[in-house]
């Protein structure tokens, strides 16, 4: 258990443009920290910088209390799982697992015992004598995982380890990695481009875009209060609906795409700027119109696409030039091109500054709590 601290870290190739800049973050001991972002945002580069495979061109990297900028990879006391697993094709599973221990000159018996222990933890006991090419993708992935675990390093880095697996196996491995990380208390730094992985696995996640930190925080906080429109659309599926909006001072209404007019409650008015804004609303906050609903805005929309997923129904429609999506739970019989009344309220809007993109107004917390109920005999 060690913390990893990045202070003003940046990376440039040939001293030209910074591909990563201004990274400041402290990853706490025993934390599951997820780096997420679209392809080419620099997340893998950052991980490789922490691993020591890539040179740090600016700033300081601290592992534990030690400055690690110039330490060689093996001195950093970490293990790494690669996207393509990087198993040694000429060695058996057993040898692959103990490879690192062999380098550290651990006794053969001890190596065997440890390999057996880890193999049973990951269900690899029957495959110890096989070569990697005789294993399925999921098994190879587990061998790679076993190799990282067996080294007992306090920090483990993973670079998109699940991206080569099919959806079902991925979901299974997700919970397995999480379980192992919890049991062993490893500090985990996990890179992924999959926001579902980030949301479900991370204690905290960092969203990177074009080499810059967009937001760091607990998954649910990021979901509820995205710091800017990029984060809003990156996290969540389907993404948050965005549209341009301005404040109409005379009627005290928010005018979205010259089409939708949402009344602004008195106390919120002063917070809104007079220039352009971007408003966002989660698809699940666009609700079916029912008689009980009071306040809010009613909107008549024409559906352009409908997807029924069994437990939920997603349909899209146009608001001005933007295409928005709404997600209703349950199965709804909606035809394409149908006119549909929907309802939304000001509270569920996220409003971003139109120029700088920062969050001006958060959504109001609408989460549910399970209340402890008394057991009646």
């Amino acid at each position: 258990m060690k913390k990893v601290e990045l202070i003003n870290v940046s990376k440039s190739y040939d001293k030209q443009v910074d591909v990563i800049s201004n990274i400041n973050v402290t990853i706490e001991p025993g934390e599951f920290f997820v780096l997420v972002g679209p392809s080419g945002c620099g997340k893998s580069t950052m991980l490789r910088m922490i691993a020591g495979l890539e040179e740090i061109t600016g700033g300081t990297l601290k592992i534990g209390e030690q400055i690690a900028n110039n330490l060689s990879p093996d001195k950093r006391d970490l293990s790494m799982v690669f996207q393509n697993y990087a198993l040694y094709p000429h060695l058996t599973v057993q040898q692959n697992i103990t490879f690192g221990l062999d380098v550290k000159r651990m006794k053969k018996d001890e190596q065997k015992r440890k390999a057996a222990e880890v193999a049973s933890m990951l269900g690899l006991t029957d495959y110890l004598a096989r070569k990697p090419r005789e294993l399925s993708g999921g098994q190879r992935q587990r061998v790679a995982l076993a190799r990282a675990i067996v080294s007992e390093t306090p920090i483990c880095l993973m670079d998109e380890p699940l991206s080569n697996l099919d959806a079902k196996l991925r979901a299974h491995m997700r919970s397995e990695i999480r379980r192992i990380q919890r049991t062993l208390g490893i500090t985990m730094i996990y890179v992924t481009h999959d926001q579902v992985e980030a949301m479900t696995m991370g204690d905290r996640i960092m969203i990177l875009h074009e080499g810059k930190i967009q937001q760091i925080g607990k998954p649910i906080d990021i979901y509820n209060h995205p710091a800017n429109p990029f984060v809003a659309t990156f996290i969540g599926s389907p993404p948050m609906n965005l549209a341009k909006a301005v404040l109409d001072e005379t009627t005290e209404e928010l005018v979205v795409e010259n089409e939708l007019r949402i009344p602004v409650p008195g106390m919120e008015r002063s917070k809104l700027p007079s220039h352009g804004m971007t408003v966002g609303i989660r698809p699940e906050s666009i609700l079916p119109l029912t008689p009980e609903q009071t306040g809010g805005v009613k909107l008549e929309v024409t559906t352009t696409n409908v997807e029924v997923l069994g437990n939920e129904t997603i349909f899209s429609f146009h608001v001005g030039t933007e295409e928005w999506m709404a997600k209703w739970s349950g199965q709804w019989h909606i035809g394409i091109g149908e006119q549909l009344p929907v309802w939304l309220e000001f509270d569920s809007l996220s409003i971003f500054d139109g120029e700088e993109g920062h969050l001006i107004k958060k959504t109001v917390d609408q989460s549910h709590h399970v209340v402890q109920q008394e057991v009646v005999e």
Binding site: R48, A51, G52, L53, S72, P73, D74, L78, S79, M80, F82, Q83, N84, Y85, A86, L87, Y88, P89, H90, F99, G100, V103, K104, K131, P132, R133, E134, G137, R140, S151, N164
Partner: protein
């Protein structure tokens, strides 16, 4: 793939015909090696009796066993030398980053365009200055650095995923250990190919041993075969062919052993 019976017959017919075409000279030599002088002149293909007289003659007339041993020593040392030098050079070209690496590699490769014969005279002078005539090192050393071998191994090393290198860096493997424990085992097929190539070319080398050897101490078989032809006024072809067959056997053996290794294809399964 399933093929119908006529297709199979046709396929095998073609295979047999072409292999006969390719193998005919060797087969003919094999037959001649059992024939007596008059039989050869008659132009027969099959000998009347399979007598081994020519074989005993060849061993009597020449220190053939001695030559065979020399050829073995020379070929094996050149093979090993090439493997060591080429694999280390290729490793440096692939896994080390240094300034001008690509340029140096290009320069290295461009030596392939210079025919060996062009560098022969300076090489002979060097060997003479070193007083290495009639020595094994004189026969072997000039062939250790092989641009083609370096190129071949480099191409194979390039296919090794860089993640393997990184994973071993994290595990704390030294550069040499990574070379020894990971790169070489993975590249076994290419190493075998290069080894077989090096052995065979050296085994069949004629010009260089002819220049470097002046007595029988380190002379190789190819020179011996030539000696057989020129010793008499009328060459006894039966004896020469017997010699040829004896010389071919080790190369054939090597081919069979090497082929099995080549087919193993060890490089699969490193990645998904």
């Amino acid at each position: 793939m399933k093929t119908s019976l006529p297709a199979k017959i046709w396929l095998y017919f073609l295979l047999i015909v072409t292999s006969l075409c390719v193998f005919f000279p060797v087969l003919y030599a094999f037959m001649i090696s059992f024939m007596t002088g008059p039989e050869i002149i008659q132009g027969r293909f099959f000998p009347q009796t399979f007598n081994l007289e020519n074989y005993t003659k060849v061993f009597d007339r020449l220190p053939l066993l001695n030559y065979l041993l020399n050829s073995f020593i020379v070929s094996i040392s050149v093979m090993l030398g090439q493997l060591v030098v080429c694999s280390l050079a290729a490793y440096a070209f692939v896994f080390f980053k240094f300034k001008g690496r690509d340029f140096i590699f290009f320069l290295f490769i461009s030596t392939m365009m210079i025919p060996w014969e062009a560098t022969m005279i300076p090489n002979v002078f060097t060997i003479r200055k070193l007083d290495w005539f009639n020595t094994y090192q004189g026969l072997t050393l000039p062939f250790f650095a092989l641009a083609f071998g370096t190129f071949l191994l480099r191409q194979h090393f390039l296919t090794i995923p860089k993640e393997l290198h990184e994973a071993s860096q994290i595990a704390g493997l030294s550069r040499f250990k990574f070379f020894w424990k990971v790169v070489l085992p993975i590249s076994k097929t290419s190493l075998v190919t290069l080894g077989a190539y090096g052995f065979l070319t050296t085994w069949n080398m004629y010009l260089w041993p002819l220049l470097i050897t002046t007595n029988q101490s380190v002379r190789t078989v190819q020179i011996g075969l030539k000696q057989l032809q020129s010793q008499e006024i009328a060459t006894e072809w039966g004896v020469v062919m017997a010699g040829v067959i004896v010389v071919i056997i080790p190369t054939l053996l090597l081919l069979f052993i090497g082929q099995k290794q080549l087919q193993k294809g060890l490089s699969q399964g490193a990645l998904k």
